[in-house]
Every structure is written in structure tokens, then in C-alpha cells.
Amino acid sequence: MTPPIIYASAGAAVLCLGLFGFLAARHVLRRILALNVMGSGVFMMLVALAARTDPPDPIPHALVLTGIVVAVCVTALALALLTRMCRDEGSALLPEDRDIE
């Protein structure tokens, strides 16, 4: 049990939770959150795996930084789309999900 392993495991768990949230949730905002969570899990695993050496490999850090920025961009765009859709169609669900649940 070393911190990298702990965080890698936690990362895997978070990843899976995010993935499950993505596939189970209907509300788009929740899905966006789920994907963010999933991304965090991914990044956790990446950084944790990089931490197997000392000093840690900086390349994964750079990758994760890039990933975080990309994630925020995508999230911002998704939220903008969501609010626009909600404004136009009055629902925060994708069309195919609207008549169930």
C-alpha cells in the first residue's frame, strides 16, 4: 500500500463511478458532472501511476494539465449547449430521454 496505489485505486473507482453516472443519468447536467468526475478519475490514475518514480515523471503532469483545461472547455461548451437547449425546448434532457422516467 503506497500512496500511488491508493490513489490509483481511488482513481479507478472514481472513473467507474463517473462512467456509471454517465450511463445511468438522464439529466444532461448530471451527465456533464459525471464525465468530469470520470475525467478526474482518469487523471488521478495517470498522476498516481506517474508517482511510481521519485521524483515523479513530469510528463503525465503536463498531460493532466492539458486534460484539465480541455475538460473545462468541453464542460463550458456543454453547459452553454445545455442552457440553450433548455431555453429552446424547455427540457434539460436529450430528446430521446424525455418520454421515459
Partner: protein, 485 residues
């Protein structure tokens, strides 16, 4: 000019054009766009020639070299995709000029506002740049970023249409994001296993171990979602069907190929050491299912653009039949040719749909009587691209299918052959259903004419799709000279 210069031009031109168009704003965006498209396509074609003459090469961005830095890898496969993007991209740009000019005229007459339509240009050029970056890249993570560039610009472009396109864009975004994340998990696992992100080095180091399996699976699933292969295709028809015509053309013709390209890279190259028969068969089977499903769905559609979009679903499936047949000679050539000619004909089809929309004001198939008489060039373009999509000779689609078919039959895999043929029939069924309406007498004489630039570009693209029939040999030579794989 050296190979490297061509490559740098290919890479940088659209990116630079995009930012310039952004800064310049509405007034100059289209001019910059056309200029960039000219330069960019010239560069990519030049690059293809350079590769055919000088063979494939690597390019260490920043001078560091793999594994620390990012290496670009320019081989025949990439060159073909780049050239395809260049040629089709140029046509789409020309078309878009006419298209938006038409929209503006329409808006001016009805005193409405076109909104931020000019944003098309920076986004489209960025999309183009992203695709070029993706094809050039030899680095897994760099590919991820390029994928994001492509995805986000694509989403923005779809959203330009407003209305139902918003939900479609959102769906696309969510699925694309999930796909990206799966992909990145794979990248991470590979990096954790082999300490490199470079494709070439990975290929040398790869061995069969659980993390690699998982990485391959996750990346595959992610890329399948991005390339809209059945059963992950459902986001595509609404997105492509509701977008503006030039956008649909770009997405359907070019963007979906990126996922396919990467999967080819991965499964036929990087993961070759994993023993891939089952997976390639699986991919082929999904492709076959896509061919049939897309065809059946396209038959059901009542709107032209939706039909064309479902046609993309089916045509993507064709490309994936490459995987089980990859060991047979000629199959890669065939699939690539199929991809290229599909790009051309599909772009042409969407352009036609756009022209039809401009003239008729709708695209309900049942009410398109006599579009042949009203817009003969568009009808001709539609017919020619249909020929190529169906795979009737002589056309690029035919030549590509022929190669795949030959490969399948040479390998005794007649069931793939049967699917290829059957899919062609389905394609014929839905495309010719529309085409037949061209021959009816028009019911109403529409006073609106589609801008000539639109009609002409679609015709040119369709003509090129036909002419691709004769590209088989050059392509074959290029793949050998450029050392594909």
C-alpha cells in the same frame, strides 16, 4: 520545397487561417477562409506528392523527438487522408462562400439576422487544422488533443444551425467526451506500461498484458463512438442531418474518417502484436451491421439530409470491413479509396441537399418533384455521387469496393463480399428513390436559384468521386512508396 515545408504548411495554414479569421471578424472571415483553404489544400496535395516521391518521414516537433517530444509521422496513409481533407475542404470552403452569401441575401430580404454565421470560418478552419494535426500526429496524447480540437469545432459548427441541431450537438458532445475519456484511459494505461506515447515506439514495445488489452479495448470503444460505427452511430444522423449544409458536408465527409483512421493505425499497426483476428472480425462485423442498419434506416427517412446522414452510417461500415480483410493485398488501398471517394461524394450529397433546401425551402423527399429540371447541375451531382456511393462503375466507390471485394473473395471470405454487395443494393435503393424525383415534372416553379458556386462545387466534387475510379493505381503506388503502416 522539402517534404518538411509541405508538412509545416499543411499543419499551420488552417490553424493560422482560423485565428486570423477569428481576429478579422465578419467582414474578412470568408476571404481569409478561401485563401487559407487554397493554401492548405495546395500544401496537403504537395505533401502527398512529396511523400509519393520521397517516402514517409518523421518530424520531431520542437526538435526533442520521441518519447519526450512529439513526433509527427507522415506516411502514405496520412498523406492520403490529408490530401483528401485538402481537396474536399477546399470545395466545402468554396461552397460555404456561396451558401452563406445566399443566407445573407435571404436574411436581408426577410429583415432577419444571420447571427454569428461568420463564426463558421474560424471554426471550420480550426476543424480542418485539427484534422490535419490528427492525421500527422504520431503521438497518442497529441492525437487526443487533436481529437478534441476536431470534436469541439465540430460541435460548434453543428450548433451554428440552431434549433434541433443544439440537442444533436449536445448528444454528440457528451458521447464524444465519453469517447475521449475512454481513449485517454487507454493512453494512460499504455503510458503506464511502456513509458512512451509515440506510436512507433509503442508498436515495438507492445506485448500482451492485461493493461494493454484494456487500453486497446477502451481506445477502440472511444474511437468507435467518435467514428459513429454501429451501434454507436445514433448521434450522427441528427447531428449531421440538422447542421448547415457545408457543416454536414465537412462532418460527414471528413470528420468521421478520423476515428476510422486512428483505428486503422492502432489495430493494423500498433496493436498488431496482440493477435488481433478476433477484434478485426468484430470490427468488421460491426461494420457489416452498420452497412445494413444504416441502409435500412436511410430507406425510412423522409428528409433528404437525414437520409444522407444515415447513408454515412452505412458507408462508415464499409470502411470497417477493411479490418478483417487487412491481411489480403489491396484491401487497404480499397478501403482508403473508399474513404476518399466517400468523402467526395458525401460532401457533394450534402451540398446538393443544401442547394435543394435553398431552392425548395425544405428537404422532404416526397416533395422534391422535378429538382432535376429546376437545378440540373445539382441533380447531376446527386446522380454522380450516388453512383460512387452505390459503388457502380466507374467511380471511386466502385474501385474501392472492388478491391475490398477482391480481398474478401481472395481470402475465401464470401460473407464479407455478400455484405458489400448487399450494402450496395441498399444504398442504391435509398439514393435512387430520391433521384427518381428529379425526373418528374416540377410542380411549382421556384424563382429562387441556388447560387452557382454551390451547384458547381457539388458537381465538381461528385465528378471527382467518379474520377477516383482511376486513382486506384496512383494510390496503390503511393501506399507502397510511402510505406503505409
Amino acid at each position: 520545397m522539402t517534404q518538411e515545408s509541405w508538412m509545416e504548411g499543411t499543419l499551420a495554414a488552417p490553424l493560422l487561417g482560423a485565428v486570423l479569421a477569428l481576429i478579422a471578424g465578419r467582414s474578412a472571415a470568408s476571404a481569409i477562409g478561401i485563401l487559407t483553404a487554397l493554401v492548405g489544400s495546395a500544401a496537403s496535395i504537395g505533401l502527398a506528392f512529396a511523400v509519393s516521391r520521397g517516402g514517409s518521414f518523421r518530424y520531431a516537433v520542437g526538435g526533442w523527438g520521441a518519447p519526450l517530444g512529439i513526433d509527427l509521422r507522415v506516411d502514405a496513409l496520412a498523406a492520403v487522408m490529408l490530401a483528401m481533407t485538402g481537396v474536399v475542404g477546399l470545395c466545402i470552403s468554396v461552397y460555404a462562400v456561396g451558401y452563406f452569401r445566399g443566407k445573407e441575401a435571404e436574411a436581408a430580404s426577410s429583415r432577419t439576422n444571420t447571427g454569428p454565421a461568420w463564426l463558421f470560418w474560424p471554426m471550420w478552419l480550426m476543424l480542418w487544422g485539427g484534422m490535419n494535426a490528427l492525421y500527422l500526429s504520431g503521438d497518442l496524447f497529441n492525437i487526443y488533443v487533436a481529437l478534441e480540437v476536431v470534436g469541439i469545432s465540430g460541435i460548434g459548427l453543428i450548433a451554428l444551425a440552431g434549433g434541433s441541431a443544439i440537442a444533436a450537438a449536445l448528444r454528440y458532445l457528451l458521447l464524444g467526451l465519453a469517447g475521449s475519456l475512454l481513449y485517454i484511459v487507454g493512453v494512460e494505461l499504455l503510458y503506464a506500461g511502456y513509458a512512451t506515447l509515440d506510436l512507433e515506439q509503442l508498436r515495438q514495445r507492445i506485448d500482451a498484458q492485461p493493461s494493454t488489452w484494456l487500453a486497446a479495448a477502451l481506445m477502440t470503444a472511444g474511437l468507435l463512438a467518435k467514428s459513429a460505427l454501429f451501434p454507436l452511430h445514433f448521434w450522427l444522423p441528427p447531428a449531421h442531418g440538422h447542421a448547415l449544409a457545408p457543416v454536414s458536408a465537412a462532418l460527414s465527409a471528413l470528420v468521421v474518417k478520423t476515428g476510422f483512421y486512428l483505428l486503422v493505425r492502432l489495430w493494423l499497426d500498433v496493436f498488431a502484436a496482440l493477435g488481433t483476428e478476433h477484434v478485426t472480425t468484430f470490427l468488421g462485423a460491426l461494420g457489416a451491421a452498420a452497412v445494413l442498419w444504416g441502409g435500412v434506416q436511410a430507406l425510412q427517412q423522409e428528409r433528404l439530409k437525414m437520409m444522407v446522414a444515415y447513408s454515412t452510417v452505412a458507408q462508415i461500415g464499409y470502411l470497417f470491413m477493411l479490418f478483417p480483410l487487412a491481411s489480403m493485398s489491396g484491401s487497404l488501398t480499397g478501403a482508403l479509396l473508399l474513404a476518399v471517394s466517400h468523402a467526395m461524394s458525401k460532401a457533394a450529397l450534402f451540398m446538393c441537399a443544401g442547394s435543394v433546401l435553398a431552392v425548395y425551402g425544405h428537404d422532404r423527399i416526397q416533395s422534391l418533384q422535378g429538382f432535376g429540371a429546376l437545378m440540373p447541375m445539382t441533380a447531376a451531382a446527386f446522380a454522380l455521387s450516388s453512383i460512387s456511393l452505390i459503388g457502380l462503375p466507374p467511380s471511386g466507390g466502385f474501385a474501392g469496393k472492388w478491391m475490398l471485394l477482391s480481398a474478401a473473395l481472395a481470402g475465401g471470405a464470401w460473407w464479407w463480399a455478400a455484405i458489400i454487395v448487399l450494402g450496395g443494393l441498399l444504398t442504391a435503393a435509398y439514393l435512387l428513390r430520391v433521384l427518381a424525383f428529379a425526373f418528374l415534372e416540377p410542380v411549382v416553379a421556384s424563382s429562387t436559384r441556388a447560387p452557382r458556386a454551390m451547384e458547381l462545387t457539388s458537381l465538381i466534387l461528385a465528378g471527382m468521386a467518379i474520377a477516383m475510379n482511376f486513382a486506384l493505381l496512383p494510390l496503390h503506388d503511393l501506399l507502397h512508396a510511402g510505406g503505409a503502416r
